[in-house]
Amino acid sequence: MNQPPDALLVSGLRVGYGGREVLKNLDLRVRAGEIYGLLGPNGAGKTTLIRSICGRVRPLGGTISIAGQPVSRKSLRRIGLVPQEIALYPHLTIGENLEVLGRLSGLSRDATRTAMGWATKAANLGNHLHSRVDILSGGWKRRANIAAAILHRPALLILDEPTVGVDVDARNALHDVILQLSHAGMGVLLTTHDLDQAETLCSSVGFLRSGTVAPQGEPRQLIETAFGTQKEIILELRQPPTEPQANTLLKSGFTPSNANLTWIMLGNASQNSAAELGAALDRAGMAVREIRFREPGLDSLFVRLSGKANQSVMEPAA
């Protein structure tokens, strides 16, 4: 049986503005039916990459293919784009929006009606078709935002921060929708700052830093490669440490967060080491609320990579 072509294949992509290269030999692959999470700090080039995929930016080099075809007006029709904002007409109902956007995506009137039924079901829009967009809650707007992008059954669905500003229930419901779409064979490229979301939802993730995507792969595999069997030791203090106390924690390998009330360190920990650590902190006069151990996640990897990126930026100047 023939494998369907990759939903997206980017090879050696170079994009620049005004003499500055934003993307440098970037490689990225989203298979059909795969959910790929693109992570990275603000300004890393995620928007530039999406604009390049959508044919809005002319690359300096490299190739992009969508469902096996190079970027062209025809192949762009295989993309469904879900912008970060609610890209719907606020005075129209969800149904009217789907009709209008279906027609604007090139579907005939009959095909639009058929597609509406499918998209409504896929996005779990239920009985909200006749509700005006401007009176809906954030979660329903986000679902409608996705439904409007899948009417023409794209091979590649690009979701730009699809769960911004929604509550936990709505976020979980959106996750279900995205999973269903990937099960239907759509390749999904998802940009997000929500690392929990990426870890639970995505079959592959990539960190976009300094114009390239590295590392990339399955989330658990990336975490294991980076941290091995190490665990995160998380220290919650009752009050911020004094300067000498903070220096001691830093020398011990802890890094601060949450206004110096939370300190984190990677290490091979056990219940005994927790007891020893608690006693040592007591002796140093630090009131500890909680000591806990945790498996590192994508957020830990993100922090480590961001730290390395900052170091590499700082080193030449030092």
């Binding site: 784009l81 904002e85 890209a87 719907l88 007409y89 009709e99 956007l101 995506s105 090139g106």
Partner: protein
Amino acid sequence: MIPAMLRVMTLSLLRDRGALAMAFLLPPVIFVIFAAIFSGVGGDAMELRVVLGIERNSPAAERLTQAMRDEPSLRFLPETLESADAVAQAVNRGAADVGLVVTGDLADTTTPPITVLVDPGKVMAGAILSGQVQRVLAKHLPDLSLARTLPAVESLVGGWTPEQSARLTAAMEQMAAANADQPPALVQTSFVGPQGGSGGTVTYYAGAVAILFLLFSAMQSAATLIEERHSGILDRIAIGPAGTDVVVIGKWIFLTVQGMVQVALIFLVAALVYGVDVLSHSWLWFLTSLAAAATASGLGLAVASICTSRQQAQTISTFVVLVCSAIGGSMVPRFMMPPWLQDAGWYTPNAWAIEAYHGVLWRGEGLLDLLPELGWLWACALAATALALIVSRKRLRM
């Protein structure tokens, strides 16, 4: 795909009550206000409020004040004041628009016996009252006019004989008594264009308000282009086969149709309330309205495509509309402007649209006469829409 965009615009407009009122209710209301104001300037409906003062009474002064009080175009305050100061105070505090004071003997030819006291903010009122006084003097007190010119003539001819003086006195008494057998006036005023029905001013202002509102509402509605850009709707549409061209062209068609409805409402009021004859010129009215609406829509879309935010678009469009309307004749007729400003007015759509409407509805011009106006408007419409298309395409690559 264009029908889909027309549907979006129609539903959005119908469900936005503010925009609906702005588009279809405000234009006829503003037209009625403009028409009510300016239809009175040239006619009798202005009715200036005048305060009268008599410092030195005489039979001639009484005749003059009576004749003035009988004038239908002036509204005199009921009391007659006794000093110029009192009249000046009444004008100053706004009790009257202008004051009229008989300060001396009307037969005195050495100093002006009548003074018109004018509020500097209402200079036109002074000019109108002065003209009315001259007219009343010539019409109702011809003996007084004659008496004021006789001394000058007497000095030129070397004095009157007793017989001539007696005949002149008798003639003046007869004129004062009978107010008859007057020679025809030196100057007579008559109006050109259609007689009866609406005034030319109302026809002028129907066109002037129409293009003003076409521009305002086109700029307002075209700003949805910016919202669609910011919300990502344009990004979404741009990857499909429609592209941004469908959005711009769809909006241009919709705004042109919306503009036609607006203009139709204004001229409906003009026809029903002021008797402007639109029906017998309906075909040329339609062509003019189509050209004007297409121009306003194109300009609105060009501004919206160039601006980066709705706030910026609002500022620029208000500036453009107000300047174009001011120098293009939508607020004050261009003939009242200095020549350089009249010339500048030809660079605005307002001047061409107003000229076209006035030509069709007042001067009864044909299609050939209208070609320059229609040609300019369509050239402007197409250039502006092309600019909007090009800039919208370029914006996607920025």
